[in-house]
Amino acid sequence: MLDRPANGARPVAKLAKQQPLEILGRNGSWARVKAGSASGWVRLLDVRFNAPSNVAPVARIKPSADNGIRGFSEEDLLGGTQDRGEIDKLKLYGVPVKDAVSFARASGLSARQQDYIEPGDYLSMDELPEDFFDE
């Protein structure tokens, strides 16, 4: 656990593997955590969240290459019978670009330029972390 969210930061406490933490906040790739009386920063990727208890998964049709639907996960596509009325409602909720722009302005979001990260920019086997393929 470090005293600030940066690579060269000073360690403030030593954490054991699987030690339960309370997450207080996040700053980019760092999470601010509390363990017992100590608090500080750890890398977000070193934290695993507890499984939520109140979500009931339902798996029906899988999105697949055949049906051309892409999902965030391969499971839980909804399926079932068609309902045109519901689809017509889609348009009711859409917003024109100008509304999205004024929402962003009111929220303090401003557009920035950045190229995509192409696999060639990072996906070099010899630079992947040693444990990348380990269990």
């Binding site: 980019g28 339902v58 049906n67 892409r70 859409g94």
Partner: protein
């Protein structure tokens, strides 16, 4: 794997052999029959060849699948060591290939004209990608209107019996966030629509043309606008990169080439029709087989990873914290964990979300830290979705 070889052979026969019977001025009835007989014979051979190829392939796949489904715990220490050795060898090979590549590049660049030409072509490539990042998939272009119409056709299949959530304020909130991010993409002109559907499932979907769906379960799981931005960015990226269109195009192309061949056969040599239909069935079976299971997933997995890195970039372009998607994936991993624990197998060491997390982290770390920071908007998000949480608890 060359899945078209024997089929292409048959099509070639249909095209070459058939018209030859027609254009020669006066073949006798016997000659014509002999030619047709010859073509039928070749077609029979091609069908048999394809059938036996398919059987071999099926056997190999079943073996591979059985290997994949072996529980991780059943690996012997020797096998584990063997696997580790294989990875190490693969890494060494990649390293050597990279060094060789660099050396060759350096050699070529010694000539200043060549160096200039290489820089120029790099710049052109980057520029082209900036206009249309779908890259090689851009050959599957439909035109925005047609793509949107195709997407709209898919919506009923996706939505099924599920209803849209009737809360107009929340629907518009999701639409504003989504539309703002989509405006930062290379396809701001699509009729982007974001729909929030009443389902406990934790997921989000995209269909061509810019129709994006997110479930109530997902909105409840997320805890910040930057996390929502990352998830919507992921779905937007599928549309921007035209990932869906590859399949639509491939299916269509195969269907139309089979149809053309069948028409030609019906016209010139109807006796070949049953063979042709058998071949058609075989090809469809083979295509379905290749689209299923382990064969299919390699490419679609790399598309998922691309949508992750692009999604994080799009969210960042829109002013959000790029790590919102990492955080969303972590919540998703926790949600999926109980289900994955039961299915850990020998080949697939990592459940899908963990692999995606690791990859996304490597990708984002290739950027300077300041180029990943941005708005998290946690409180605004929690406030906007409060009614969902209250109902859920």
């Amino acid at each position: 794997m060359n899945r078209h070889s024997s089929a292409e052979f048959a099509i070639l026969l249909a095209i070459v052999a058939m018209p030859a019977c027609m254009v020669s001025p006066g073949p006798s009835q016997e000659q014509l029959r002999a030619q047709q007989e010859y073509a039928n014979e070749r077609m029979r051979e091609a069908t048999e060849m394809m059938e036996s190829q398919m059987q071999d392939m099926q056997k190999q796949m079943e073996q591979a699948q059985a290997e994949q489904q072996r529980p991780a715990a059943s690996l012997t220490p020797e096998e584990k060591q063997q696997r580790a050795e294989q990875w190490r060898a693969a890494r060494e090979q990649m390293k050597a290939a990279k060094l060789q590549d660099e050396a060759m590049n350096a050699e070529i660049r010694k000539d200043p004209r060549m160096a200039r030409a290489m820089d120029e072509s790099d710049r052109e490539h980057r520029e082209a990608m900036r206009k249309d990042p779908s890259g090689m998939y851009s050959q599957f272009n439909l035109g925005d209107k047609e793509e949107a119409a195709l997407g709209l056709e898919m919506v009923p299949m996706l939505m099924g019996r599920q209803k849209l959530v009737g809360d107009a304020a929340l629907q518009q909130y999701v639409n504003k966030v989504g539309r703002w991010i989509a405006q930062q993409s290379e396809r701001p002109g699509l009729p982007w629509q974001f729909a929030f559907i009443d389902s406990d499932a934790v997921n989000a979907f995209a269909v061509p043309g810019g129709y994006i769906f997110i479930t109530r379960g997902m909105l409840v799981l997320l805890e910040g606008e930057s996390e929502l931005a990352g998830v919507l960015g992921h779905e937007i990226s599928h549309v921007v990169r035209k990932h869906h269109l590859r399949w639509v195009y491939m299916n269509k192309q195969m269907q139309s080439s089979m149809q053309q061949t069948q028409e030609a056969i019906r016209k010139y040599n109807p006796s070949m029709l049953p063979q042709m239909q058998r071949m058609d069935q075989l090809m469809q079976k083979q295509a379905a087989f290749l689209n299923s299971g382990p064969m299919r997933s390699t490419l679609s997995q790399s598309e998922e990873m691309q949508a992750d890195t692009d999604g994080a970039t799009l969210a960042w372009r829109a002013g959000y914290d790029a790590y919102g998607l990492v955080s969303a994936l972590q919540r998703f991993e926790a949600y999926q964990r109980p289900r994955y624990a039961a299915q850990q197998t020998a080949l697939q060491d990592h459940p899908e979300p963990v692999r995606r997390l690791k990859m996304l982290d490597v990708a984002l770390r290739s950027r300077a830290e300041k180029d990943t920071l941005g708005e998290g908007a946690t409180e605004r998000y929690l406030e906007a979705t409060r009614s969902l949480r209250e109902r859920g608890s």
